[in-house]
Symmetry: C2
Subunit: 339 residues, 2 copies
DNA sequence: CTGTTAGCGCCTTCAA
DNA sequence: TTGAAGGCGCTAACAG
């Protein structure tokens, strides 16, 4: 791999001159510039970003940590972040925690060693000590939480407007005439799940419907577990709910499996609304009414905020953490049609 | 961000000693080791991988280039590669080309500047000059092509056993009693598409069914375009095909939309088989019979080969390119059931 | 076992 | 406008 020195030798100039034409920051006379460019082409020279980063202490790299990028929501988030980063000449290194606390710890440590200039993180579902993240921020590496927001973490965060999104879904079910509406959540250790639960409750109260603890089923993000939970609940209940609201995709999949296994279909036997798209195309049945999060925008917005922190880092006092909440939209399909 | 020197000072030892306890390569006496570890904890020291890489000229980083990781097949591939990399202490930097030739060029250049030790690449659908990749390999950066295999590129490659996979799908349709089987492909500039087409033809011939050019529809990987193409074909044909085989996911989505828009459903009106899973869960209808590629294994295997190249690089003659073809499996569902 | 030191490739003053 | 030189933080000899 040729170095800047070899380019300089071939072009018959000093390394400084080569550096100047590469960066474009300092003007170089036409003839020298051409000679240098010719040498670069000839040697197929690619500036060593590693050396550049060491010198400038800027890696032009961001990290993004997600639970599992095979969950369709996350690739969109990553793409949004990638686009924002690309515009700034940054690249992105994306890693999966598989919702493990230990793994998340290792990955944060790794990214820190890689000297990424900022980190976007969807915290793992496993209860995670926020101390590590706090230290990261104190060490001057900005962190933006997205999607899932941990409690008591003084970091910027970008996610969906959880409460109103859940209200939107619940209101819709109520409008469609459903009254006995169950909710299936993921782990309540995640703030979002709590907020969505809260939106659901508010919506019911506003409509004068009693909030029934029997209809609040708290699971996790593993479809198998949720399926078992829902089956047990459905079978044990004296009166079945007439509709179900799920607060995230994996949970919804589990719940739908349970319905199928109980011989119930939607919307015929039960109304159904969930957060997050379950299929890539709406030609599939059952067509599920969905509370769609602006995944791409969440990633894009989060990266944008991260850049503000990165750029503003030199100077000014530390600004208070920003909390961005983007609105969800409701995609009404068959599953919430009252029959 | 503390440096090794600060750790050394705090622990009252030399930087060499700190380096030794961090790497574990050279034994250090118990008392000193403890002091160093204490200093590391105290300062929250994270070794600077950038400096390390510059010194050792090993970044312990791999690049992976995919067309678009929001296509569900690719996250699995990436995860497979990530797992293999993780085991070797490597990390992965994943980027999307959006099937653009220019973008791919920039990304290869970027990864090269980042000094990744090897690159996994799913080449862009846009016709791409392979020269850049050849140069990369000549420069000593191993490249493994996966999924899509460009012609005439002396690189390792890992993909599915295209011909027999297509045969498997076609044979299945034939067995189910279908005779007038159409095929919808992506761009024929991709070798895989050609091979799958070839498998389809072989299968028909072996069954004594004439290969009808009218039933070979060549599109691209944009569902909208494919939908338009299929609609036009279906409407203009005197005799409709009784089944369709699609050679990839996006193409299949387009084709299914066309069927819907023509008022046809599967399997009632037409049999349907496609490469690649279209939904995350088989509780959705229509349940499509699918030729499933071992996506995770493709990524894992490709990374494994890459490591062999990376490790074997020092010494030996250059080995001939390896061509790995993994078998697909057939997931039979409703869409191919003859009614 | 421990300390010292010379670069890895590049950028960035600083002089000329 | 061009060239020379000092590190960035770390590892890997090598010397003690």
């Amino acid at each position: 791999m040729p170095t800047i020195k070899e380019v300089a030798d071939l072009a018959g100039v000093s390394v400084g001159t080569v550096s100047h034409v590469v960066s474009g920051a300092v003007p170089v006379s036409e003839p020298l510039r051409l000679k240098v460019q010719e040498a670069i082409r000839e040697l197929d020279y690619h500036p060593n970003h590693v050396a550049r980063s060491l010198k400038t202490s800027r890696t032009r790299t961001l990290g993004i940590i997600v639970p599992d990028m095979t969950i369709s929501f996350y690739p969109l988030v990553i793409r949004g972040a990638e686009t924002a980063a690309w515009k700034q000449g940054y690249s992105l290194i994306a890693v999966n925690t598989m919702d493990g606390a230990e793994r998340q710890k290792e990955l944060l440590s790794l990214l820190r060693s890689q000297r990424v200039e900022g980190i976007l993180v969807v915290v793992a579902a496993a209860p995670v000590p926020v101390l590590q993240i706090t230290r990261l921020i104190e060490a001057g590496i900005p962190v933006v939480c997205l999607d899932r927001i941990p409690e008591k973490l003084p970091a910027d965060s970008v996610s969906v407007e959880d409460v109103s999104a859940a209200e939107m879904g619940t209101d819709h079910l109520i409008e469609m005439g459903y009254r006995r509406i169950a909710i299936v959540t993921g782990p309540l250790s995640l703030t979002n799940e709590n907020r969505r639960l809260q939106g659901y409750e508010q919506s019911l109260r506003r409509a004068g419907i009693a909030v029934d603890p029997e209809l609040m089923w708290h699971g996790n993000v593993r479809p198998e577990d949720v399926a078992a939970l829902c089956q047990q609940k459905i079978r044990s209940l004296a009166i079945r709910p007439d509709a179900i609201l799920c607060t995230n995709g994996p949970t919804a999949l589990g719940c739908l499996r349970a319905l199928r296994d109980c011989g119930l279909s939607t919307p015929e036997d039960i109304g159904f609304v969930t957060f997050d798209e379950l299929t890539v195309d709406d030609l599939f049945q059952p067509a599920i009414t969905t509370i769609v999060q602006p995944a791409y925008e969440i990633g894009f917005e989060a990266a944008t905020i991260l850049f503000e922190r990165i750029q503003g880092k030199s100077g000014e006092e530390i600004l208070a953490p920003r909390t961005i909440r983007l609105p969800a939209s409701l995609k009404v399909r068959e599953s919430s049609r009252r029959l």
